[in-house]
Symmetry: D3
Subunit: 317 residues, 6 copies
């Protein structure tokens, strides 16, 4: 029934407005954000049927997290609702260099971090074509790690393909713990996505992106591996070879969510049976995502194709 | 599959912020609004499964109209998408008396006004328990009038119950045309809702609300008729008698959407098989709706019950 | 050529937003304000040809003061421009009682306070039907007092009628100085407007509004005198008798500018040769003015007539 | 060295703007708030030397909490800084009735809740004239309860007087636990402040405010007891008798902080050796506080005296 | 009496704030915009006497369109007012590349599109030195095309000079229709302005800007022709030769209105009898215009001269 | 008791928001600003004990100026309060080049400009390690010049070191008057900071920054002299030699306050007894300051050290 199902936490993103500081801003812009829901939302915008599994508090903040996923078209019927716990929050301040982006997580004790595999109705996964999760989920708690493992198990058992975005978060666990936690999940994944820096820091995979992609694919026995390298574009290694795609030049309004947009592009290609097209969709979506405030680019499939065709929007008056 | 399905137009609501004027406000607050989608949204918030039939332009504004319905939980899979036409707009300015509320419609030529019955996949209605529409829809165009008639026909044919909120709009048609257009739809409806002033102006039904309710029920051979009378509360006439409910005292932030909130309350009662409870839900929801900017009250079922129990929110610090 | 010409200062009005404090608000709302320009602006909105004489600094702030008059339709070709001096400013904070309205003037040394009669091209007055000034202008400086006297002189000499709104400002001069400064201007004015409290404090005219109006007319040998009494309405004394008009009930968003709106209404009546109609226009405009943030009500002639006809705007959806 | 020292938590107050909902507001207004810091801030504004003891995280949010106290003039040198834990947060939505005020606390695990008596440099209390704390502090954790007890002990030992505002919070502890936790602190306090509803709910003291005040004083063997009764004003019982003060009529922008403003007024009187004057200051400050967005009224001593003298701000133009 | 008179439509420009999307922005920034009114406004700011002919609805939105022209000093007495039809609107979203600028017109059925030549009081043109129109006007409707032709005819007949800015809009008509519609207007114009891309797309004039300018002048038998080439500056061909001016380096806040600012600069030169100076004014104004949100640069003549003198504003603290 | 005491004026900074114009912005962002208070604020943020001497009006605006210094941790007990005079204001508009930064001062007659040496309680200076003032203070009035001289005299007499930032303001005095006014203050200062352009314009010191620094040190017989050269970094000349530090690459949000941030960095080094470290702190702080709206960078000591270590904030999600 669904093209892609994802599992992950969504948080309130409370950001000092552009140019302001968390210490003094009179208001914080409120958006919602989470790697896996970003992927589901972007794919829904592109016309795919997506669902998202999470656990939320049944209060205005939790309802907001669900509503913001639905806005983009994500199915939220598989959400586990609770009346205890809290909604994860992160505070964000960003400015030009040397200021950059600073994130203050306040997510300990979130409802999601208590999600047990037994709480989920796994039917939603069983009918899906792909299941997607990132390395953030198993980092959040032992319960989340077990639920992520079950998620992958259920997907495979039902014949769905599995993709994993490594998404290493230094504030959540050490590189050693991340490696130990992620390797079992990555083993035999159909698609692994990893940032160049994470590949080195977590898995000791150093070198040119194309080499890292090839070695990552081998090491994880994955169907395909993609290494993202920011301004240097991205490399895909699959059974047929290694491919590179250059980054799409883009101004930067808000870099957060760029990686999730890339992952959505890869899955678009994967769903169409063309990972190399996915690489192109990914770099285009990553470029577009950083021109919007917030994690998700408010674009349509047609907008992405126009950027790839070099026929992006132009001034008309 | 759905508890309630509605059919109607949604518009961009562009409002001068509180205290400002349309002629000079530096920005307009953007919300979306339409009587039938408001009802579907409120019922979805209360936990019912609702769907909404409309026709939208596939551009950012049209997608916004759909997204804002989904946010509340309304199913939007039955929407008819088009690449021509425009999104209806209305401009709004409001202030305390003697300024009041002024609405400038700019909805001619909207995508919805071109909706033909043949464009709709009527399956969504066939599985529903109730079908709800207001007197605005047939007022918009001949196509809309025919589609509204078909909507009611499909509902009845499939065994669904039908409710109609008269919602007379002087800017859309004359009282004479409204009467001619609405009477066939109202005939034998399971539930008719009409404002005291509309009953008099359109149908010549004058007098105390309880009398008007009783006579409206008779005249339309309706299962039940409800007359709303603002600060005087509302009256229900059904097979068992006539009932009155006083208004819930409420401050006023934005009166728009109050009537739709009331209708949603009536349908809540109807779905629970208790129209008299619906009357209570209606006056509570109407009161709550006018304390929010925008058409829809961001409330839960529990919030409504708390107001009815006199246990509304209290300051805690 | 002009129906009404006014002479006076306009200032930047820097206001803490509703609910905020001057000491902490992150931004100040910027509007422009001045008793005489408010009157000219309101009359221009009603369809009259009005011009405004003032002196402004030729920089963005001064240009803003002129532009905001033009927006409403006031002719600004008679403005005296200078490259020295400053723009008058006032800081405003308001809240519900017991907080109320507090104004901090910072207008000393303004360009207007240096306006000499010899700088003005008086032709603009010579072709006018009415000349209007308030008691604020002569309070600002000796130069302004002389210019106000000349303004009245030029108007009379050319056959224009003269109206004066007493507008006593305790922060600008004492009651004694106000009396001495205003009596020569008021003498033989065609229309004098004075608030009940000002009549008592400046001129010792105490008692019921109707008595004060009659006695003011006699004392100043004015064609007509009007006493405003807030919620108690206003009284007009002219050659034909004394008339009272009740206030129009109104919610309050921002009381500033209410008196100027009333004066504009009186002049509307005067221009139509019907001061008693002016009294009605005045109370309606005063009521409407306090429902808008800022000094001037963004209304049309038709809006005022609708309020007087009790057919004010009503919700339509 | 200080007139008043207080001990308590401050939180980020994240509020949906007026008319908006937490579920949908695009931004949250950010202010800081806590009962004891509100009292210290208000007294600092009135010209008293005040200090505030708390525990904060040394990051932008924690620094903001300290900075917002300093803004009003509160000494923050006694704050205990930490690099672990989090800043307490509460989410706020308010609207007219029946919507009212709803607060969602997210304060578990805050830095303050871990404050041990041994972390505080108690010198700041030793030199103070008064020490003030509310019933919120002991409700937060066992550590906080012990620290509050030590605070009172240190104050007494050094000859300072002690005031306690009961401030019962149902969301933090039950009435039974509150009673058990508060009675030891209240015993022999120099001044006890309690809301009428809290007196009944926590201590079973029912009846007219004047009776409750007298009985509370006896029960707690307090120097004086004050019972606040909202629109019914407040009653003081001290050695000389029982006194009542009517509430000052006031519009309501934001009721939060009203009680803290009242407490500050009582302490003003206490510091001047005149509790009956304190009662008058209290009702005036409570009225003023609710006309400002945020917890603390941005007023001066002179503003309060003007309200009491009936010479509050008036429109001047 | 006027230096320049222009004829054209003005629309409400409803823009998602910087970084936001039309699909989700909580408010839209409201400005007014239209090529010909932009030119009149900029010239008025520079000290020239300008008037603007258009047709507007007499409601708050139509009045806003007129008021925003008056703000800059444009005479609006020649506007044709109507009580039917609607105000044209366009929705705007912009971001850094690859997002760029996207405009959604909603201007069909606007009041202006119904403007018949017979409705205009042509006296305003007869006394003017220059008449200016763009290629947008004839594209809007047959009525507008006829009115534009009459506008040019009236100007010529009265001895005024005529300038035309090609301003091709792909969303309004095809290149073929544009060519057929514009050639009669361009024939013998005193000044033709055309963007390099439009020259190629509409008239098949390809090549270096200087060649295109020369050939355009010949083809249209124009007094002078100017080709604008964005970052490559602009080229003027007149009887004395061909001249090139480099672009003024400028950051970009909002590119819309750049071309109209350039046209205003050319007309400034033309009014001073120095087209080559106009070329310099044009590139300076175009650069300045894109540093302001909105279509019109809020600059004075002195500001432009300072930029040209390289003495632009500098930080002073 | 204090590490650094500064003397100077603070003004309300009323700025058109980014992209907007002073002539049309609907609100002005309000911040407070003054060279010397900026230095004291930045040093307080870094953990130093700082105090600031100024003269303020005891009204909401004056209290705001004090409160905004306290927010950062500056001691305000040495402020001289008055009930007459006004608060200095400056209006600010900025945009990308060629628009740049434009400041309109409205500071004549400010309370500070009337500050007499005899009004200050000089004890605050006597206990300080460093006293800092800029060339703006003596430019404001004869009284200010005398007070600045006394400030330096008191500092020296008590053994404090003295630093002076030349900060030449063309709008306040001519280069000749500046030279005559500043040379006596600069003579024998422990640290002189001067911008390259000011060195040339005021003191005729032309050439490479390193040469200017050396010659400035000699000419003023200063302990050390620093010349700032924007993108070219800064040069320090002291007894041990001449040192250069390159600028830290930085995006620009708001350049105002950059120089004050640099001065604070120099003083940080000076207080640590390491002027060369101060040079590094200075360029880092200057870079960080221009990434914040407003004059003062909301940074901690740790943030600055991280930038210097190249370990600035990085995206984490």
């Amino acid at each position: 029934m669904f093209d892609v199902v994802t599992l992950g936490e969504s948080m309130l993103r409370l950001a000092a407005p552009p140019g302001e500081a968390l210490e003094s801003a009179p208001h914080f812009d409120v958006r919602t954000a989470g790697a896996e829901v970003n992927v589901a939302a972007t794919l829904a915008r592109l016309g795919f049927r997506t669902a998202w599994i999470t656990k939320l508090v049944d209060d205005p903040l939790g309802r907001r997290l669900a509503a913001d996923a639905r806005r983009h078209g994500v199915d939220t019927s598989a959400i586990v609702w609770t009346t205890t716990g809290r909604s994860g929050v992160y505070f964000l301040e960003q400015g030009p260099l040397p200021r950059g982006v600073t994130v203050y997580y306040d997510r300990a004790g979130s409802a999601f971090s208590t999600l047990e595999a037994g709480e989920v109705t796994w039917d939603v996964v069983r009918g899906a074509r792909w299941a997607h999760v990132t390395g953030i989920t198993p980092a959040l708690s032992a319960a989340c790690a077990a639920t992520a493992a079950r998620f992958i198990h259920e997907a495979r058992a039902a014949g769905a393909k599995v993709s994993i975005d490594v998404n290493y978060r230094r504030k959540l666990w050490t590189a050693e713990r991340a490696r130990a936690g992620l390797e079992p999940l990555l083993a035999s994944a159909d698609l692994v996505i990893v940032a160049r820096d994470d590949a080195r820091e977590v898995f000791g995979l150093d070198g040119a992106p194309r080499d890292v992609a090839r070695r990552a694919r081998e090491q994880f026995k994955a169907g395909a591996a993609v290494v993202t390298a920011g301004a240097d574009g991205a490399c895909l290694a699959d059974a047929s070879g290694v491919y590179h795609e250059t980054a799409v030049p883009a101004g930067e309004i808000d870099p957060i969510g760029r990686g999730d947009a890339f992952a959505a592009g890869m899955l678009w290609g994967a769903l169409d049976g063309d990972l190399r097209a996915g690489l192109r969709y990914g770099v285009a979506l990553a470029a577009m995502a950083q021109t919007y405030l917030g994690d998700v680019a408010w674009v349509s499939r047609q907008d992405v194709l126009a950027v790839l065709a070099g026929r992006g929007p132009k001034p008309v008056r």
